[in-house]
């Protein structure tokens, strides 16, 4: 056929970029000023180049000429400024930036900052910073239509499950090979797998581990898999009386059989032996002492903290049982599974775990309320193609999805310096080392992104930064 | 030439023989009436002849109809005769009409599909049939809008539309009052006049007299005697037939009341009753005295049972006063229900129910046994449930139960409506004895004026209130439905 069908788990809520923008950029419908390659290097997007003033406070983005929105109107500095102005008024990474002013100038957009942000271009590469035509927004700033600049133009948008788009003939860049694409949101992993298997979808995004094993034996599809800058980790309330010493956290870490988990449950090649995956490039520190599995050592550490086993094998101290609640969410199907495994592995060292699989918001909400004990989560370090944004919000000093009840002045200083554009590999290595030693979060696994492409479709690549499906590069084989 | 002859018909339930070999013939213009005790096999015999026996029963013998001879056991062989050779008249006409189809089409469909008339002609014929039966206005009504008598006539029209010369009717007047009974008899005889055959089953002697022809008396599945109807009824040969005829209320002697009347047990003054927006009783005054029997008659649906409900405090009168004698326990006022099966807990063994009552009223332990003797009931019955004793037995057990409560007043609502004459005579006799011996006040309801006239000391005839003549049919219909439906659902 001439239409390429994409199936992915994300639902289309509305045309609003702040909630659904990532689908529009992935599908090549909307674009951002800045683009990124698989290695995380920033590339020109709707901006052809950028420069920053000496003091790091004034950024100038040169805009691409002759870009048309899908409604036929031209993209101008004013429309770009307008779109970004609306975007930063909504929750999202832009909202947290110290932007003083967005000024359209002939052929360029000037952004004035209150303090330096070295990663600003990376922020502008994030999906919610996508540039839509003025007519895409309603009077209150909510998007009412997706009128972007990308190679594909929406022909029908039916929230929550589907979207159709065709090639936009006046696209500024090369025309895509595939003239039409559809997007279907399919929540259940097994249904997606069956769609891949039965040929109902040509491009299936995100497969569960078991499906990968199964589909890799099938001739009908090709499986692509790549490590991505996302980690599965255990968030620890370091202010909790049971968990406030690094030894206690190390004991929990030693209890985890990462290799077994990776192979049997996640079916990944290996477990995580530090927080930052190799996919994060210079943030990954190969020199670190890897995290190990040693229940005996874990028991010894806990005994050192005054915990003694009770009749049922669960430790107790001063009449208190070492019982903790682990909060997680089923949106990612592997999380409850890993939680179930942790429950047993912790029990082996005398820690009782109650699993509460609930809405994902319980973790940040519990963080804010100080009630969270343990949280099992998948953290994306590449919300913007520069991990410093996430590091800053999670560990300098702590944040909803990062460290809790734990502060480290050195990390904060290092991260803020990096954000300003000062420092390099040594600072990153030091951050990784501190996290490895203090364990405010306990890394468990590094994610693999997997997708299935129907045999006969060429040119598929996985974007580890989860920004694009790479549809314009796809081709139906002859 | 005989229209139908049946030879050596037997009906078996497994190894149990329900109908012994019976033979009969039907000749044109000469009706055959079958009389007999309840459960003697009359219905089964008729069903065997028509091939409509229930699947669980087996029949042997040979039936010859229209020159063809069919083994009675071969049900399928009869299928082609229905409607064309034999018009089968249903036992319950109001249940025999499709409740979701108007009257006329139920007749017309037989004209069209059985007799083969084209649609228009079939409709015309059906309209004419109904017209002839005085049902012209009823042709567009649904069965539930018909009275029992109307439904009966529609069913006859439908059964005969196929043009069958032989008519077999099983208790065609069951539950009907005298006027209605005569209507039906007329209808059946009318068909006979055109050279058809007629077989009627009944235990109503008056109907048998009206039909005439020949008579056959059955008992225990066997023929007791046969002969010309008038001859058998006037000079019966078998002892049972004699007893049957003697038990007819017509031949009862008048009951003599005790000379001095007892105290007043219950008094109703200026009683006015309404039900469902209809005035039933208007300004009635009556007095019940110990030892006396008050007879209550009136057409069906006139409010006899409702009056009983009011006297017993189960229905609030619209106007008027009911005064009970002072010093009597509330349980001294009892009632015998029109339908005795419905008045007992369905699933409880009868003995248990009776023992509960005895315990409640602190009756001496041998009281039940004594009453059983007196009512000529076998103690073995007590182990059974209400559904598995005969109607006559249950009616006597209901009386026994009421007696346990030491009543001073009993409202006996049609206590014999479904019984054959012999059982009927026994029960009424018993009630009369009780009134005399125990000083009981009794209100006896019956639609049979003869019976009331023979037994009651005082008689109240409830008139049908003006403007309710049409509602009367509706009442019959509703009652019968009410009684039949649970049986089907069960």
């Amino acid at each position: 056929g001439t239409t390429l069908d994409v199936a992915a788990p994300f639902e289309i809520q509305s045309p609003e970029p702040s909630t659904t923008g990532h689908i529009f950029t992935r599908m090549g419908i909307a674009e951002t000023l800045v683009d990124a390659d698989p290695q995380g290097r920033l590339l020109p997007g709707l901006a052809t180049g950028w420069s920053v003033s000496e003091d790091g406070l004034t950024w100038r983005f040169t805009l691409r000429e002759n870009v048309l929105f899908h409604d036929g109107t031209p993209m101008t500095p004013a429309t770009v400024a307008g779109a970004l102005e609306i975007a930063r008024g909504k929750p999202g990474p832009l909202a947290s930036l110290p932007i003083a002013a967005l000024t359209p100038e002939p052929g360029a957009l000037v952004i004035a900052l209150g303090e330096p942000v070295a990663a600003l271009p990376a922020f502008l590469a994030e999906a919610r910073a996508q540039i839509l035509a003025p007519s895409a927004y309603g009077p209150d700033g909510q998007a009412v239509a997706v009128i972007g600049t990308g190679p594909y133009r929406v022909t029908s948008l039916t929230p929550p499950l589907s979207l159709r788009a065709t090639a936009f003939p006046e696209y500024w860049g090369a025309q895509p090979n595939v003239p039409a694409v559809t997007y279907t949101a399919v929540g259940r992993a097994e249904t997606r797998a069956l769609m891949a298997e039965s040929g109902d979808a040509d491009f299936v995004f995100t497969l569960d581990p078991a499906t990968v094993t199964r589909l890799s034996r099938s001739d009908a599809v090709e499986i692509l898999s790549v490590a991505i800058p996302r980690s599965l980790l255990l968030k620890v309330n370091a202010a909790h009386p049971f968990l406030n010493s690094p030894e206690a956290r190390r004991a929990l870490s030693l209890a985890i059989d990462r290799a077994g988990l990776a192979q049997a449950v996640l079916r990944y090649p290996q477990g995580a032996d530090q927080l930052f995956p190799p996919a994060m490039g210079d943030w990954h520190n190969p020199a670190l002492d890897p995290l190990a599995h040693d229940p005996d050592a874990a028991r010894a550490l806990l005994a050192g903290l005054g915990w003694v086993p009770g009749p049922d094998g669960i430790l107790s101290r001063d009449g208190q049982r070492l019982a903790l609640t682990l909060t997680t969410y089923p949106d990612r199907p592997e999380l409850p599974l890993v939680a179930a495994v942790l429950e047993q592995q912790f029990r082996a060292i005398g820690v009782e775990l109650t699993i509460n699989s609930t809405n994902s918001s319980e973790i940040p909400a519990g963080h804010q309320a100080g009630t969270l004990e343990l949280g099992l989560l998948a953290r994306n370090f590449a919300l913007i193609p520069d991990p410093i944004g996430t590091i800053l919000s999670d560990y300098a000093p702590g944040g909803d999805w990062g460290a809790m009840g734990w502060q480290n002045a050195e990390i904060a200083a290092l991260a803020q310096a990096l954000a300003r554009g000062e420092g390099g590999d040594a600072e990153r290595a030091r951050i990784a080392a501190i996290l490895q030693e203090q364990l405010p979060v306990i890394p468990i696994a590094w994610y693999q992104q997997t997708l299935a492409v129907r045999t006969g479709i060429e040119g598929a690549v996985i974007d580890p930064w989860e920004r694009s499906f790479g549809l314009p590069g796809l081709r139906f084989a002859e | 030439m005989t229209l139908l002859s049946a030879t050596d018909i037997t009906v078996l339930d497994g190894a149990v023989r329900l109908v012994a070999p019976v033979s009969l013939t039907l000749n044109p213009g000469e009706p055959l009436v079958i009389l007999g005790e309840t459960g003697s096999g009359k219905s089964l015999l008729a069903q065997a002849i028509m091939g409509t026996l229930p699947a669980s029963l087996r029949a042997t013998g040979v039936v010859c109809i229209g020159g063809r001879s069919l083994p009675a056991g071969d049900r399928a062989a009869f299928r082609g005769l229905w409607g064309r050779q034999i018009a089968v008249l249903p036992q319950e006409p109001w249940l025999s009409l499709d409740p979701l189809m108007r009257a006329a089409p139920q007749v017309a469909e037989a004209h069209r599909l059985v007799r083969g008339l084209p649609g228009g002609a079939a409709r015309d014929r059906a309209a004419r049939d109904l017209q002839a039966l005085g049902l012209g206005a009823a042709s567009a009504l649904y069965p539930h809008q018909l009275s029992g008598g109307m439904a009966q006539r529609v069913a006859i029209a439908a059964a005969r539309a196929g043009g069958a010369p032989i008519v077999i009717a099983d208790e065609p007047t069951k539950g009907l009052d005298a006027a209605r009974r005569d209507d039906v008899a007329e209808l059946l005889l009318g068909a006979l006049a055109r050279g058809g055959g007629l077989l009627v089953i009944t235990h109503d002697l008056a109907l048998a007299r009206r039909i005439g022809g020949r008579l056959m008396v059955l008992r225990d599945g066997a023929v007791l005697e046969t002969g010309a109807t008038s001859a058998v009824l006037s000079a019966p040969q078998a002892a049972y037939t004699r007893e049957l005829i003697a038990a007819d209320p017509e031949s009862w002697s008048r009951r003599v009341a005790p000379s001095e009347a007892g105290q007043t047990v219950l008094e109703a003054r200026d009683l006015t009753l309404s039900r469902g927006g209809q005035r039933l009783v208007d300004g009635l005054t009556l007095e019940l005295r110990a030892g006396r029997i008050l007879g209550i008659t009136g057409p069906s649906g006139c409010g006899k049972s409702s009056l009983g409900d009011a006297l017993l405090g189960m229905l609030t009168p619209e106007r008027g006063q009911i005064t009970r004698a002072r010093g009597l326990a509330p349980t001294a006022f009892q009632k015998l229900w029109q339908d005795p099966v419905a008045a007992f807990p369905r699933t409880r063994p009868l003995g248990q129910t009776l023992r509960d009552v005895a315990r409640l009223h602190a009756a001496p332990p041998d009281r039940i046994g004594g009453l059983l003797d007196r009512l000529r009931l076998a103690p073995g019955l007590l182990a059974r449930r209400p559904g598995s004793v005969s109607g006559g037995e249950l009616q006597r057990l209901a009386l026994l139960r009421a007696m346990l409560a030491k009543p001073r007043f009993i409202f006996a609502d049609e206590p014999t409506s479904r019984l054959d004459p012999i059982t009927q005579r026994d029960i009424i006799g018993l009630l009369a004895d009780l009134a005399r011996s125990d000083g009981l006040a009794i209100a006896l309801v019956s639609h049979d004026p003869v019976l009331i006239e023979r037994v009651a000391d005082v008689t109240t005839c409830l008139p049908m209130q003006e403007g309710r003549k049409s509602a009367r049919d509706a009442a019959i219909r509703r009652k019968d439905r009410g009684m039949e439906r649970p049986a089907i659902l069960r």
Partner: protein, 309 residues
């Protein structure tokens, strides 16, 4: 007329009940609604304090109790369901979309089930106790004992993956209907068949059914003219009650095959604490039930003039 009045009362009470229940749900759910809604809107990677506070400010989630409730019910009776907390779209518009999708699916399922179930049931009811009757009893019981999600998965595995006849999931073309409709229909047909069988058996045992044959009509004529009409009344009544069963099936099936319907929306809305959506969908389903049953009442009253049911 009384049918309509009593159904109207039912509708009003349904609305009250849904209104009160969803309001109570809004107030008593564990966890903070603002957080839940933020998670629903922005996804787990992006929910944080800022997002939650933005939601809280936007929706005014901490108002006083009684005033809010009265306001709530007032809006409800003006059929103003408000705006979906997650998508920001008017609830009415969203439901309008989804209701259509579910309605077609439901109609297809009911249609299919009526084609499959009642004929088999009637066939069995004509000869109660026969081999066919007993086989049907076991088969229909077995079908009813398969959870619907399982039925859907089995059908997908067999019909799409192994045989490749039908698409496994998706929405938009007629062929997408077949599989989910069939998955729903099998369960419904199992019940329909039982109802039809029992109705036929009891109609067949009625005196009027025998009488119709005694009039001289053939078996087929009796079945056609008297059997079907009488069987249709209980079947129809039951169909109304089946609507509830159907809705439950729809919720599950839609979530499996990715059907953009109301059941799917409902599960999501409950997850995301999108209370206006829960309220809107629940109300639509409840009123749908009342409407369907009112129609069925009217239809049944046409077929069965006795009225008293």
């Amino acid at each position: 007329m009384t049918i309509l009045v009593s159904r109207l009362v039912q509708a009003v009470v349904v609305a009250l009940l849904v209104g009160a229940a969803t309001f109570a749900m809004m107030r008593s759910l564990p966890g903070d609604a603002a957080w839940r809604i933020a998670a629903g809107r922005y996804g787990y990677d992006n929910v944080n304090v800022a997002a939650a506070e933005a939601v809280r400010a936007e929706l005014g989630l901490d108002g006083p109790w009684l005033g809010a409730f009265l306001q709530w019910m007032g809006d409800l009776f003006r059929l103003d369901f408000g705006v979906s907390l997650v998508s920001g779209q008017p609830v009415i518009a969203e439901i309008g979309h989804q209701l259509g999708a579910s309605l077609w699916l439901a109609l297809a399922a009911v249609g299919l089930s009526l084609v499959i179930g009642p004929p088999l049931g009637i066939l069995a009811g004509l000869r109660p106790g026969s081999l066919f009757d007993r086989v049907l009893l076991v088969v229909s019981t077995a079908l009813k004992a398969v959870p619907q999600f399982l039925m859907a998965l089995i059908l997908i595995l067999v019909l799409s993956v192994q045989l490749g006849w039908l698409p496994a999931a998706g929405y938009g073309q007629p062929r997408h209907f077949i599989l989910p409709a069939f998955a729903l229909a099998l369960g419904l047909a199992a019940v329909n068949a039982r109802i039809a069988r029992d109705a036929m058996a009891s109609v067949g045992a009625m005196p009027f059914y025998a009488f119709a044959q005694w009039k001289g009509l053939s078996r087929a004529q009796v079945l056609w003219r008297h059997g079907l009409r009488n069987v249709s009344v209980p079947l129809l009544t039951y169909l109304g009650l089946q609507f509830v069963l159907l809705v439950e099936g729809v919720v599950v099936i839609e979530s499996i095959v990715g059907w953009p319907g109301i059941g799917h929306a409902l599960v999501h809305a409950v997850f995301a604490r999108d209370v206006p959506m829960v309220q809107g969908t629940a109300l639509m389903l409840g009123l749908g039930f009342v409407l369907v049953n009112a129609l069925i009442d009217l239809l049944a009253a046409r077929i069965d003039p006795r009225g008293a049911r």
